[in-house]
Symmetry: C2
Subunit: 354 residues, 2 copies
């Protein structure tokens, strides 16, 4: 299970690690348990950039005062179906769960519920929150905005963030359909290419600082990302900025602050929409129809290089089952860099060296 | 303005043509005026596949009884915020406008409104309907489903349609942001490549009938389309099928009938969501924030090959202004083929030969 360069962390050990680190960062115990659950969910599903390795980033932001443990979502304004809410610089995870709960409650009572959250911070993988809805037989859509690192279609400099879009759909007897994607090339993947000294990256991912297409990872890392699928990613990212930033009268596109400025509030946000299938054809028929769609997808012959056709979220679920058994694979270098960075934030991780 | 191979049709002449053709197809006069408006809007914005050249397809379907003029949207079930509606095989244009009006009315009264429409038929470019909302200071999202011609990510055969996604956002003093895209490669573009005897198409657009990637236009036309942006297009297309088909307990994925079977009902549909910005930060601040986003996009230096950065919908608007002045450019061969096809449907187009 282990080698010189990497090892596997059993899930319960990873959980203890999270609880220990964030307890030292003054995250209240009930919030800490939820935070560990969300961080571990990403690690288990293979979204390692949003899993336990993100801890030094959160530690820096908590220490700087940008992310404030113990804060909760505050409703500025609401109607029977909507809420405009302020995350008050609280943890993105805590306030996203609270936002989803408000949207679910409104949808249960009035068929639809929508919540926009401003003044938030990084909330990890959106899949966790939309799965909360799917697990309660509700359909959810969620959007996020972030630092303007992505050039608009046909442009030379950043306009909007990698703005993720996610949805969750209950699957009845099947696992829910859960889809969660960034609308642009991944900045983390480009940073990884730099660290791994990969000689070149595909030409459709990034621009250099001057706005010229580049295949050089270092120039890309210093430059701008490109939207996924050209006008499709550009359009969806703008929609996210409108639903998250404009609808809340808050940060939007170029005035979402640079994520590196950890001394000041980050001011990104989320938009959540929940739909109750009961209001339409009714849950029973709805689940039967979704089941038909899922089974139809799974019955299609796979293309070369694929063992079978999956529905959104299925690969993450398979990875989760494997990692629950085998542990979370961890490059030794990543682990050590993380512990060093936590020590630099005055977190005592002496017991976690291995 | 004209040549041997092509000519320009003045807008008012194109409108008279539509009114004449659809009057002969027994479209009631008020419905006909609206239909002409929607068809011309596509022709003016450069979406020629959904403009006047689509008339023979509609003529065939009206003659076969698949599309039935004079029918209206019927509400099967509703709540204060939602409606499940039956298009009763009426024209897709008529029933989409009616669906949008219901969603707008519900959103005006309860901040959010959602309508799912089943038993519909082709409704042209979704941009028209979401622009209706933007023009009334509302945000709209719209999805459609269609014949399963698109392979799922990693699959060898069709699962879902080219399922479009559209949104409209009011722009205040600016033109609204209007985005409308198919979530897969364009079948019409591949048919055009066959007709134009283009030797090859890019390798990421289509599969042949056996599910192998192909660059041969004829093999692609006989085969399957691929989702745009891999998992992103696949995910969005599934979401469309769930919101349109599953939520209405109607056709969904593989059981949306082949669009070629014009003797039987088509049974595609739409899903519309409307959000009232007034319920969140309020219209005034919302429009100011959207304006900031639009102006920020337009201020970004253009990449090589672009004269400037546009917001979604801007290119169509520019084309509309040009075509209003210059007329709709029309290849003579396309025009003649259209007139012949209309004659085959017993539409008298003698006066339209030129």
């Amino acid at each position: 299970m282990t080698s010189k360069d990497s090892f596997y962390i059993p899930v319960e050990e990873a959980r203890s690690f999270c609880l220990d680190v964030y307890r030292q960062l003054n995250v209240p115990e009930d919030e800490n348990i939820q935070l560990a659950d969300i961080i571990l969910d990403a690690s288990l599903r293979g979204v390692d950039t949003h899993g336990i390795l993100i801890s030094p980033i959160y530690a820096q932001r908590i220490r700087s005062g940008q992310m404030i443990p113990g804060r909760h979502l505050k409703i500025d304004k609401e109607t029977s179906t909507t809420a405009l809410t302020d995350a008050c610089q609280g943890l993105g995870q805590t306030t996203s769960v609270e936002g989803m709960e408000i949207a679910l409650e409104k949808a249960r009572a009035h068929s639809l519920g929508a919540v926009t959250i401003y003044n938030q911070s990084h909330n990890g993988a959106l899949s966790y929150y939309v799965r909360m809805a799917a697990d309660q037989n509700m359909v959810a859509l969620m959007f996020g905005n972030s630092t303007p690192r992505v050039a608009p279609y046909g442009g030379r400099a950043g306009l909007h963030g990698t703005n993720p879009v996610a949805f969750g759909i209950p699957g009845g007897p099947h696992a829910p359909m859960v889809c969660d994607f960034a609308t642009a090339a991944s900045g983390a993947a480009i940073r990884q290419a730099v660290e791994d000294q990969v000689p070149s990256i595909p030409g459709n991912l990034a621009l250099d600082r001057d706005g010229n297409p580049t295949t050089d990872p270092a120039a890309a890392f210093d430059g701008w990302l490109l939207p996924k699928g050209g006008t499709m990613g550009y359009g969806l990212a703008l929609l996210a900025d409108v639903l998250v930033g404009a609808l809340s009268g808050s940060c939007c596109g170029p005035d979402v602050p640079p994520v590196q400025d950890i001394e000041s509030p980050y001011c990104c946000g989320s938009f959540i929409l929940v739909i109750d299938p009961e209001a339409f054809i009714g849950l029973e028929v709805f689940l039967r129809r979704v089941g038909f769609l899922i089974e139809s997808a799974q019955a299609i012959q796979p293309a070369d290089g694929f063992d079978r056709v999956r529905i959104p979220g299925e690969r993450g679920q398979e990875e989760k089952e494997r990692r629950r058994r085998e542990g979370i694979p961890m490059p030794r270098r990543s682990w050590e860099q993380m512990l060093q960075a936590l020590e630099a934030c005055d977190v005592d991780v002496a017991q976690w060296w291995r």
